[in-house]
Symmetry: C2
Subunit: 242 residues, 2 copies
């Protein structure tokens, strides 16, 4: 029974380690020893080796993201308590995490802007079998549950494509659809994002396509590093065709 801390920034690792070991209210409760890793693949590796009870994972890491690392760890060791540490309250991550964590899984989600007390609180909660979710994320989760505003996989796919700058035609080819189907997806996407079209206000204010990307980024539905991943995937599948 040990604890695992995985973050690519050494500064954050030592901060967290100090916090956990010196906190009075965690004395004796924190599984020892504490192992450390620097990226997602190390996280999986160290977890399979030491079977930790508690794992802290940064989301944004090289090689393997914290989310994917969590997925693999939970698949192998479902009883592990996973606490995600993130700089952002991005909806993408909440979306992804929701799919990865088993329904009865125990996990925490804390932003790096959290106070030391909150981090300790999260650790204690997860150790005693509860979940701990950062207050700032509560409303994000609400939104992902809400039918009227949350995006379907189809809409999300379309969103990513336009954010990468693809044309309707290119999207259709990539997803094996007609252009009409693509436009249909986009139409419902714009509606859910609340972007007014030509019809609604007399003079057109917005280019819906770009506006959709802007508000989605602001809401954290997409972010640059996610898009870059997609871009890389696109490149690959393009190479396959050749």
């Amino acid at each position: 029974m040990s604890t695992l801390i995985v973050d690519d920034e050494e500064r954050d690792r030592t901060w967290l380690k100090n916090l956990l070991t010196t906190s009075p209210s965690l004395q004796g409760e924190l599984p020892q020893p504490i192992h450390e890793g620097q990226d997602g693949s190390q996280a999986v590796e160290l977890a399979t080796k030491h079977h930790p009870k508690l794992v802290f994972l940064d989301i944004k890491m090289p090689n393997l993201s914290g989310i994917k690392a969590a997925e693999q760890i939970l698949k192998l060791l479902p009883d592990t308590g996973v606490i995600m540490l993130s700089n952002f309250s991005d909806e993408v991550y909440v979306r992804q995490l929701w799919k990865v964590v088993p329904p009865n899984g125990v996990f925490g989600y804390v932003l790096k802007s959290a106070s030391d007390e909150q981090v300790v609180e999260a650790a204690k909660a997860v150790l005693s079998g509860d979940c701990w979710i950062h207050p700032g994320i509560a409303r994000v989760i609400q939104r992902t549950q809400n039918r009227a505003t949350s995006l379907t996989p189809a809409e999300y796919e379309a969103l990513v494509c336009i954010a990468l700058g693809m044309t309707d035609h290119a999207i259709a080819k990539k997803l094996y659809l007609t252009e009409k189907a693509v436009q249909s997806r986009l139409k419902s996407l714009y509606a859910k994002l609340g972007i007014p079209g030509r019809s609604e206000s007399h003079d057109t204010e917005f280019n819906q396509r770009c506006r959709a990307v802007y508000v989605s980024t602001r809401r954290g539905l997409i972010n640059q590093s996610e898009l870059d991943d997609w871009e890389a995937k696109m490149q690959e599948s393009k190479a396959d065709v050749k």
Copy 2:
């Protein structure tokens, strides 16, 4: 003669404070005492009060950004050594900083991913009247100097507008131009960003408008918080018209 540390994250402030006070190679050289602030307006306030020799400024802060704070501080106290601390190597910030810092000003720019040694090095350099720029930023600066790839103010303005999702028509109205002029700006923008148009490749791959936003964000020419500032400004000027 004192030192000023301004960052909205307490964690980073204490980290930096510890680093500066405990570093052997800075003993005796660091101006004492050390004052701390949490945002840009406090930075200006504390600087006018204590006339520090050295100021550490985080770029992303509430109320007043680190860049704007630096501008005001350097206007009042041109001999202050300013060191910018940033999480990102975004081109926007380099652009802005270049305008704000006087030609003979002394400043540093270090990324938060820097090692402790680098931060100390930067501090020593600035204290002895030199500039210190993070290696990762060198090539960004190169790009901002290069005529062929750097954007003119006109192009940059257009870029921000399309990133916010405005139509040609809306942009023209906002900037007091014809739509044709806007399109002309966009055309040269696309060219500088190296985005292929309909003519260049047989089948159109990209929606240039969205693609431009994507690559610009990736290059750090624009970023979300900057765009949000612009969005707020747009709202204001819209209210003025009423």
